[in-house]
């Protein structure tokens, strides 16, 4: 297309360069319109991508049921004698697994905090007792060694899988596989290392805060029991929790909501207090996506208004330019230019103006998110789509707001135009 109109584009560029400052000021509206659209989209995209990624990692076919102290419990456990008993039971997992045909997998998770020692190093670990399916469900690829296997459960084997991060904190290496890690008073063989993830225990957390050690749940139950004693700020708390979490996976996405409702109804029947929390990543995902859509609509409106203002600015200047160049138009017409050639000339000039503005705007729109990321550390994503869209829109602005001045120019009576002072 540019090839066909090469001479017209050259002429347009030349005419715009005759009034550099005016041309530049005229395109400012489009520059800032396009620049702000790309920049805002990049910031919005960066923020929502992070959130959506985190939610997606939870698995859109999963339902997370997490033990949580009920509200009345929370207020009555300040005594040091009492032990608070709450949360999901081993029974709950069995019941859920047996009651719902849509449910493909259930994975129990039991968490215990323990001091651990590897060689010279001592640290507090979050010991996670679970089953082999857990590694699939939360997508933790193996880095080295092996993950837990069914026979480890059946045999009550003292084996442990660590995360890359945990390994680093413990000053261990790949050679650590096969070595012995003391957890509490028990000795475990390190059998594997898996990748980190931002998601542990159903909550969205920043990654790498905990040092996790995965062991067979049967071992966790057997060796560490269900009662945990913790000393927080001088006072001891004792809690009895059987399972910290049950992760449920259904066969397909459209079964998620019904299954979640069924599980909730069932848990309500068997638990006197609401000492659990059900979260559905799919619902969170949809909510996040809806929020993003709203954000994009608001953004689109702002962008639309700023480009409209930019376009009107361009039209205004082009109308002035047509008046200013009435004589030139008359000359061209007298020589034999057709109306459509005059339209083309002015339209291309406007499109060159707005597209140049759009390209400068693109530069600004890429620069601003980069600066934000450098200075504020916020993630930003400049999507190629937003660049293509902006360029298209700025060309469109040129056409839409250039057509009227161009037609005005073409419709001038050549005799009158030639007499114009």
């Amino acid at each position: 297309m540019l090839g066909k109109y090469r001479r017209e584009v050259k002429l347009g560029v030349k005419n715009l360069l005759l009034h550099k400052l005016r041309s530049f000021l005229t395109m400012l509206g489009v520059v800032f319109g396009v620049g702000s659209v790309i920049a805002m989209l990049a910031v919005g995209e960066g923020a929502s991508k992070e959130a959506l990624d985190r939610i997606r990692k939870l698995g859109s076919q999963n339902i997370l049921i997490t033990s949580a102290k009920s509200i009345e419990e929370e207020t009555t456990t300040n005594s040091r004698i009492f032990m608070s008993v709450y949360g999901l039971l081993y029974e709950d997992e069995k019941r859920i697994a047996e009651s719902f045909p849509d449910i493909k997998t259930t994975v129990p998770v039991k968490e215990v905090r323990k001091q651990a020692r590897l060689g010279e190093r001592t640290m507090e670990l979050r010991v996670v007792g679970t089953t082999p399916q857990w590694f699939d469900l939360v997508q933790r690829p193996l880095v080295s060694g092996r993950i837990l296997l069914q026979r480890d459960f059946d045999d009550f084997a003292n084996v442990v899988v660590l995360t890359e991060h945990g390994v680093r904190k413990l000053l261990a290496t790949k050679n650590t596989i096969g070595q012995t890690l003391r957890i509490g008073t028990e000795y475990f063989e390190v059998i594997g290392i898996v990748q980190n993830a931002g998601v542990i225990g159903g909550d969205i957390q920043t990654p790498d805060q905990e040092i996790d050690a995965y062991i067979p749940i049967s071992v966790a139950q057997e060796r560490f029991g269900d009662v945990q004693t913790r000393t927080v700020a001088g006072s001891q708390t004792r809690e009895k929790i059987e399972l910290n979490q049950i992760i449920v996976q259904v066969g397909s996405i459209d079964q998620v909501e019904a299954a979640a409702a069924g599980i909730e109804a069932m848990l309500k029947r068997f638990h006197k207090k609401v000492d659990y929390r059900i979260s559905v990543p799919l619902a969170l995902l949809r909510q996040a996506e809806a929020t993003k859509r709203t954000f994009n609509i608001v953004l689109g409106s702002i962008a639309g208004i700023s480009l409209l203002v930019g376009g009107i600015g361009i039209m205004n200047i082009m109308l002035a330019s047509v008046t200013e160049r009435t004589r030139e138009i008359g000359i061209r017409r007298a020589i034999g230019a057709k109306k459509k050639q005059i339209i083309l000339q002015f339209l291309i000039e406007t499109v060159v103006l707005s597209t140049t503005g759009g390209m400068i705007g693109m530069g600004i729109g890429i620069l601003i998110p980069w600066i934000i990321t450098q200075l504020a550390g916020m993630p930003t994503v400049v999507s190629p789509f937003s660049l293509v869209l902006s360029l298209g829109i700025s060309m469109g602005v040129g056409i839409v707001f250039g057509i009227y001045p161009a037609i005005r120019a073409a419709n001038l009576d050549p005799i009158v135009a030639l007499r114009h002072e």
Binding site: R7, K14, N15, L18, R327, E328, G330, I331, R332, R333, A334, I335, G336, A337, K338, K339, K340, Q341, P414, I415, L418
Partner: protein, 232 residues
């Protein structure tokens, strides 16, 4: 040199009327004009202000259509053509020279001369060669890259003449071509037009100076939208 009467008729007006309507008022600019312009002739159109000189020239230049009557340009009836077709006639058969030169000020001499060729779709390189050729013809080959404002009035009018010749028109139309020039420069331009006429170009020129009209081979006197008399 081809003799003028063997070339046939370049332009012919047959009972041409032109009425301008201004609100409820009608102005009869031309009230029935019939005349033949032979190919190769040099006409001067004279007459008092408001007598219809410019109106005739605009019609002959296909910038306007007669209200009534017919206009044959090189044998083709152009009185009923649409806007695009009139553009094609101007591009194909006509060249204009104006009192105020009417050059495009932001373009160079060369670009100005090439303007008709651009609309004719000429190849840029060929068009540049042609512009140089034309510039030589009017004595401006040294000024090809100057802007009009850097030239004297006489030089600007030479550029305009070169531009008017670019499409090798059947008729050269001039509206007071020396009106903005001092008499010495005006005479130079008149001599250039005479030279072109001697080379065979048909020229129709509006003027209100009888001395200049003496250069022409025919003189057409207008009064109140009618032909008063013709001198040859």
């Amino acid at each position: 040199m081809i003799s003028s009467n063997s070339n046939g008729i370049a332009a012919q007006l047959i009972d041409v009327h032109k009425v301008y309507r201004m609100g409820t008022q009608e102005v009869k600019a031309l009230a029935g004009v019939s005349i033949e312009f032979e190919a190769g002739s040099f006409w001067a159109i004279l007459g008092p202000s408001g007598s219809g000189k410019s109106t005739i020239l605009n019609l002959l230049g296909c910038l306007d259509r007669p209200t009534k009557g017919r206009y044959l340009l090189t044998g083709q009836d152009v009185s009923t053509l649409d806007d695009d077709q009139l553009s094609d006639m101007r591009l194909g058969y006509l060249g204009f020279i104006f009192q105020s030169f009417n050059l495009i000020l932001q373009s160079t001499v060369s670009e100005n001369i090439q303007l008709p060729l651009y609309y004719m779709g000429w190849d840029p390189l060929k068009s540049e060669d042609r512009a140089m050729e034309l510039a030589k013809r009017v004595g401006l080959e040294e000024r090809m890259n100057h802007r009009p404002m850097e030239l004297s009035g006489g030089q600007q009018q030479r550029v305009a003449i070169a531009r008017a010749l670019a499409n090798d028109p059947a008729i050269l139309l001039a509206d007071e071509p020396t009106g903005n020039l001092d008499s010495a420069t005006g005479n130079e331009i008149m001599n250039l037009l005479l030279e072109l006429n001697r080379q065979g170009k048909t020229i129709i020129m509006v003027t209100h100076e009888p001395e200049l009209a003496e250069f022409a081979s025919h003189r057409l006197f207008m009064r109140d939208g009618l032909i008063e008399r013709i001198e040859s």
